[in-house]
């Protein structure tokens, strides 16, 4: 559990969860989660579908009520004053819930009204955001005619209308092609430079590693590991991994020869972890084939090591 000591000089965390639980009848979606978010954090929640990431995000933006435990956003209990919390949040949900009958521009303007924003100031802001997300030339296009990437960019622009302090993005680039992904990542990092705080959920390790300075790895409603991507990798799996196609007999042989190496099996593949490439090089010479790979480790390997399964199903 990460506890923040509050002294007069330490600012209160923006978000603070303590032993947070969400149960739907028999199903426990979030099972005792603790974390804090400080200003300017870029925090990633990494895990497979069903890990509880979306439920956790929904509790933060007050769409779902916690079953037990404590969740404070902007030093306010989520059960006590959701309205005040929502006014300072930007939400990019998993699905693009735009108004399909309206244009890009109308979608922004109508959404801003829900925050009580009207008039020339918010119109100026809408224009700025459309520019920022490269949607200006589409402002009079009806949503139904936009591509998936454009819709996603619009949802992100929409989430920024109320000048939020914390932006929550639930699987922001799932299903998008690489150019749009990189555009979105660049924009988010730019916003981070301007002082915004981000919470992102993802099951793409590339996204987790490129964007986030801290990760919380989730599985079955629990946080199973946390820290900076490089620290996680060094702590759990070393910096290099050798993937081999190996049957159990070969695995036993390697296990006997090299007990110093971390080992994980997933289906037909055997993963051997080492602190550096030199440690693994002899094995490449001995067992390497076209199907083997010697590569740097990633957070996905951490997940595999800790749970015995892949993040992507």
């Amino acid at each position: 559990m990460i506890a923040m000591e509050r002294t007069p000089t330490t600012p209160a965390p923006l978000i603070e969860a303590t032993d947070l639980v969400k149960r739907y009848g028999e199903l426990t979606a979030v099972n005792g989660v603790d974390f804090t978010v400080a200003p300017r954090d870029f925090l990633g929640f990494l895990g497979p579908n069903g890990a509880g990431k979306t439920t956790l995000m929904k509790m933060i933006y007050c769409l779902v009520e916690p079953t037990s435990g404590s969740l404070r956003v902007f030093d306010t209990d989520v059960r006590a004053d959701p309205r005040r919390i929502k006014a300072r949040l930007g939400v990019v949900p998993q699905e693009n819930n735009l108004d399909p009958d309206l244009t890009v521009w109308d979608n922004l303007l109508i959404y801003s009204r829900y925050f009580g924003l009207r008039g020339a100031e918010v119109e100026g802001r809408a224009r700025e955001l459309l520019d920022f997300m490269e949607l200006m030339d589409k402002r009079n296009t009806v949503i139904g005619k936009l591509s998936g990437g454009m819709k996603r960019r619009l949802v992100i622009a929409r989430a920024l209308l109320n000048e939020p302090e914390v932006v929550i993005l639930d699987e922001p680039t799932t299903g998008l092609d690489p150019q749009v992904r990189h555009l979105i990542w660049d924009r988010l990092l730019e916003l981070r430079e301007q002082g915004l705080t981000f919470l992102v959920t993802t099951h793409y390790m590339e996204e987790a590693e490129n964007l986030c300075d801290r990760l919380l790895i989730m599985n079955n409603g629990c946080i199973i590991a946390r820290g900076r991507p490089l620290d996680l990798v060094r702590e759990h799996v070393g910096e290099f991994v050798l993937e081999l196609v190996a049957d159990p007999r070969l695995e036993a042989e390697i296990a006997q020869a090299r007990p110093d190496l971390g080992r994980q099996r997933s289906g037909q593949r055997l993963y051997l972890y080492g602190a550096d490439a030199e440690q693994l090089a002899p094995l490449v010479r001995r067992y390497g084939s076209r199907e083997s790979r010697l590569r740097p480790t990633s957070v996905e390997d951490v997940f595999l090591k800790l749970t015995g399964r892949e993040i992507r199903e």
Binding site: Y24, Y61, C62, L63, V64, E65, P82, R83, R84, K86, A87, L89, V91, P93, E95, N97, L98, D99, P100, D101, L102, D106, I110, Y111, R113, Y114, F115, G116, N162
Partner: protein
């Protein structure tokens, strides 16, 4: 109702804005249909009926037509349309991730359902004015009453919408509840034709009071009991609105 503030107006505005965008398909049918319907009844059926309850047939059914088309419009808007917004477009989820409370969302939707009822009622009233069956002095009060009736049925419908997970249930609600109501409420024929044992049930239905009060205004047949009818309509409407707000909140915030 505590959570309700002026924000519900923004939800109402959104619905109106979308409607206005599609005005070509949305506005014309409601304007033309009443004319045709009234023509059919007045010239067609009315030919065979000398008088009902002291007046000609068209004058008798006109109030029934105003009310039933109005409340049907509110019902459709807060069943199929609302469900579409909630479950397919996820519009409701988008709205309540802003400072708009679920109760305000519901009130905005109910207000919009009632507005559509009002628009439809106005079209029928206009048609009736043209054929001389609408005393001008009662136009505004009649329309005001249809707005309240619209709120009533919008609230009832939104309550149902908040509980279903497929549009199939609306078929049951419409054909099993709403349509039969028209038989028991004096819309097309006097209540005196209903078996006596069903009369208490008929009068328990707020729709009966809505139709009777509308008819009372249009045929100049009001009395002290009309105030009771109005009170009954208002009280049941307020109750159903409260129930709808609570039920929709439970649906939206898990």
């Amino acid at each position: 109702m505590r959570a309700v503030g002026p924000r519900f107006v923004q939800v109402w505005y959104r619905d109106g804005h979308v409607f206005a965008k599609l005005w070509k398909t949305n506005l014309f049918p409601p304007l033309i249909e009443p004319f045709l319907f009234l023509l059919a009844l007045g010239i067609g059926v009315g030919y065979y009926i000398t008088s009902i309850d002291g007046v000609d047939y068209l004058s008798f059914v006109a109030p029934g037509i105003i009310v039933t088309t109005a409340i049907l419009q509110a019902t459709f808007e807060c069943t199929y349309s609302a469900y579409f917004r909630m479950a397919f477009q996820s519009t409701y989820d988008a709205i309540i991730s802003t400072p708009v409370a679920p109760e305000e969302l519901s009130l905005g939707e109910i207000g919009w359902g009632a507005t559509r009822a009002l628009i439809t009622a106005a079209a029928v009233v206009f048609a009736l004015t043209v054929v001389g069956r609408m005393p001008p002095i009662w136009i505004l009060p009649v329309l005001a009453l249809q707005f309240v009736a619209g709120i009533h049925f919008a609230a009832l419908s939104l309550n149902i919408t908040s509980r279903v997970y497929s549009t199939e249930y609306f078929n049951f609600y419409l054909s099993g509840v709403i349509f039969p109501l028209q038989m028991l409420t004096g819309a097309y024929f006097p209540l005196s034709r209903i078996p006596e044992v069903l009369l208490p049930l008929a009068w328990a239905l707020p729709l009966t009071s809505m139709i009777d009060l509308t008819r009372g205004m249009m045929l100049g047949r009001l009395g002290w009991y009309s105030l009771l009818e109005l009170a009954y309509i208002v009280v049941t409407t307020v109750i159903f609105v409260e129930l709808a707000l609570r039920s929709m909140r439970r649906r939206l915030i898990q």
